[in-house]
């Protein structure tokens, strides 16, 4: 089947995957390790492969309705022949039957080829440990939640990002005030002096990330920043083996507005910090011009766990490079109320007793 690439161990024929600890390809069966350079030969062969052929296989006995299969792709595993079903953006996964890591070549060929990839630095065990640490010490977390979170289902995903470089040329005008107060025996006086303050200059930004997948919540991806671009390497499909991956479905054009907004905000803040010795400062007019704008398509490593609890989904994400883990936790409202009232009642009694004691010993 064209369109799928599997990496077989030359020693034992098992499926090999990228090991984040060693930063090399490693066979989980015979534990043989392979340098990335050794696999470059494979890549050059892969580039000469023909384009994907999509085999539509329709379920026997039923017909798909209009548009139902538009976003669906079906692949056959080269190892066991099992069907792998994914959406239009799926770039890498594991065969659900034999567990072999597979990469969908068509998703990363031609214009869809990422410029860079930041390989996973932290493995699944590190992700699980980070999650356990995240839920520790949270007094208002329901006890049952920790027990029911299916932590082994945590998955490593390469999330597509657009990383923007830009030079900002800013000119910002502020209204600033200085206040002086004094009084005499009859009156209180307040003197307010008004100033017009201007700050202008240049600032450069490098690799401002905006996630290019509609499946990933932007807020969640922004919470696990920053990604260190210095660890990024030229893209090779081999890095994806053993992990899930999606290609982008939000292009650079759609993402640049978010990048522009963040760059503008930071530029204003940085110039605002240079306005000192005033009591109050507010922006009157702001002009930020971006130039030398460039976007890079980068796959970034993220460990993801989604849990359904009490009819709500809770998603946790860990930066596979830095280890920063985020995810909103549910609140035990009953405990929260009891604790609140308990503190108030105990505090009231305690303070009254203390006041009475002070009054007695006076």
């Amino acid at each position: 089947m064209a369109g799928l690439q599997e990496y077989k161990c030359p020693c034992c024929g098992g499926g090999i995957a990228f090991n984040s600890e060693l930063q090399k390809m490693k066979c989980p069966y015979c534990e043989t390790e392979f340098e990335m350079e050794a696999l470059q030969g494979y890549d050059s062969d892969l580039k000469t492969d023909s384009t994907d052929e999509m085999d539509w296989e329709v379920q026997a006995g039923s017909e798909w309705g209009n548009g139902e299969t538009d976003n669906m792709r079906v692949y056959s595993c080269k190892s066991c022949g099992g069907q792998i079903i994914g959406d239009a953006n799926l770039g890498a996964t594991s065969c659900p039957y034999c567990g072999n890591p597979v990469v969908m070549m068509g998703q990363f060929s031609g214009a869809l080829r990422p410029d860079l990839v930041i390989p996973f630095k932290l493995d699944k065990e590190a992700a699980k440990a980070a999650y356990q640490k995240h839920i520790q010490g949270k007094k208002l977390l329901p006890k049952v939640f920790a027990a029911q979170n299916h932590i082994d289902e945590i998955k490593g995903i390469y999330v597509p990002f657009w990383m923007f470089d830009a030079d900002a040329d800013a000119r910002i005008r502020y209204k600033a005030t200085k206040v002086k107060e004094w009084s005499d025996s009859e009156y209180n006086y307040k003197e307010t002096s008004y100033y017009s303050v201007v700050r202008g200059g240049e600032l450069s930004f490098e690799s401002v990330p905006v996630d290019g997948s509609s499946k990933m919540e932007d807020e969640l991806m922004e919470s696990i920043e920053p990604f260190q671009i210095k660890d990024a390497v030229d893209f090779q499909t081999a890095y994806l083996a053993g992990y899930l991956a999606d290609k982008y479905d939000i292009d650079a054009e759609q993402s640049k507005e978010r990048a522009s907004s963040r760059v503008k905000r930071s530029t204003e803040q940085i110039f605002r910090e240079t306005v000192k010795d005033f009591d109050q400062v507010e922006v009157e007019a702001s002009s930020v011009k971006l130039s030398s704008c460039k976007a890079k398509y980068v796959l970034c490593p993220v460990w993801i766990l989604t849990t359904l609890w009490n009819q709500n989904y809770y998603t946790f994400a860990m930066n596979g490079q830095t280890g920063k883990l985020v995810g909103d936790l549910p609140e035990d409202k009953s405990l929260s109320r009891k604790l609140g009232w308990g503190i108030m009642v105990a505090g009231t009694i305690g303070i009254i007793a203390l006041q009475y004691l002070l009054w007695l010993i006076r």
């Binding site: 450069s204 930004f205 919470s223 905000r265 009231t348 009254i352």
Partner: protein, 262 residues
């Protein structure tokens, strides 16, 4: 004739003895019960005749028990200085009560609605600053509501207790206000509860949007090309200070006083 003379001299002797006894009795009894001058001087005419009478009796009774004067003075206006100082001066000038120099004095001036409480002589130690503040705060509501008799009677009763306790070696201490204390405690612990539980709830949230991109600024890339500050104009405003109704304390020759407004 001799018999008549004897009878006449006996009669004169008896009359003389009777008169002397009466005088003696009056002096002794009078000095025990009645002072030379009353302890209430209602110049401002705030009390009815019955109220004056009742208050006089009350002041006299307490003064006799304590052997110090408790006096109340009302005036239309002060003649300069604060109410407490003027009260002491009038007490001394009019030689009110025993006039032995030991007194608790209350003066009310109606023009500017001032009150003044002073402790004179040995009463100075009993009616310390805290006690005078306490007495002032006790009567100020009644004065404000024009319940003058109630205010003066309350002053007399509470002064008597404070002086009696001081004479028994017990220093004045403001009573413990449980209600006020409970209210303060509830507010503080309510705030503490909100902050504590709020902090715990906040620790459950870790997903936040990023508004800026400061982590992605290239090092040393900032180049400031324009930086100027231009003065435009100044605005000055003034507000009149509110007249303070807080208590002021004065002290002088063997007395201490506190004055305030009602």
């Amino acid at each position: 004739m001799n018999g008549y003379r004897t009878l006449r001299s006996r009669a004169f002797r008896f009359l003389g003895l009777l008169i002397l006894s009466c005088v003696f009795f009056t002096i002794v009894w009078g000095s025990r019960v009645y002072a030379a001058n009353p302890r209430l001087a209602d110049t401002a005419g705030l009390l009815s005749a019955d109220e004056r009478n009742n208050l006089n009796n009350q002041l006299d009774k307490y003064s006799q028990e304590l052997n110090v004067d408790i006096v109340v003075i009302t005036v239309d206006q002060l003649s300069g200085g604060d109410a407490a100082t003027e009260g002491v001066a009038l007490y001394r000038q009019a030689q009110m009560g025993f006039s032995n120099g030991d007194a608790a004095v209350l003066l009310i001036s109606m023009e500017d609605r001032d009150w003044g409480i002073a402790g004179v002589g040995s009463v100075d130690r009993a009616l310390n600053s805290e006690a005078r503040d306490y007495l002032g705060n006790t009567i100020v509501k009644d004065l404000g509501n024009e319940n003058y008799y109630q205010a003066f009677s309350s002053f007399a009763e509470k002064s008597k207790k404070i002086i009696a306790d001081a004479q028994n070696g017990k220093k004045f201490k403001k009573p413990f206000r449980a209600g006020f204390s409970a209210a303060i405690a509830a507010v503080i612990s309510g705030l503490a509860s909100l902050i504590t539980v709020g902090g715990m709830k906040g620790s459950l949230k870790s997903v936040h949007s990023k508004t800026g991109a400061s982590e992605y600024v290239k090092k040393n890339s900032m180049n400031m090309k324009e930086a100027n500050e231009r003065f435009l104009y100044t605005q000055t405003s003034k507000t009149k200070k509110e007249s303070s109704s807080s208590n002021t304390t004065t002290s002088g020759n063997s007395y201490s006083g506190t004055s305030g407004k009602f």
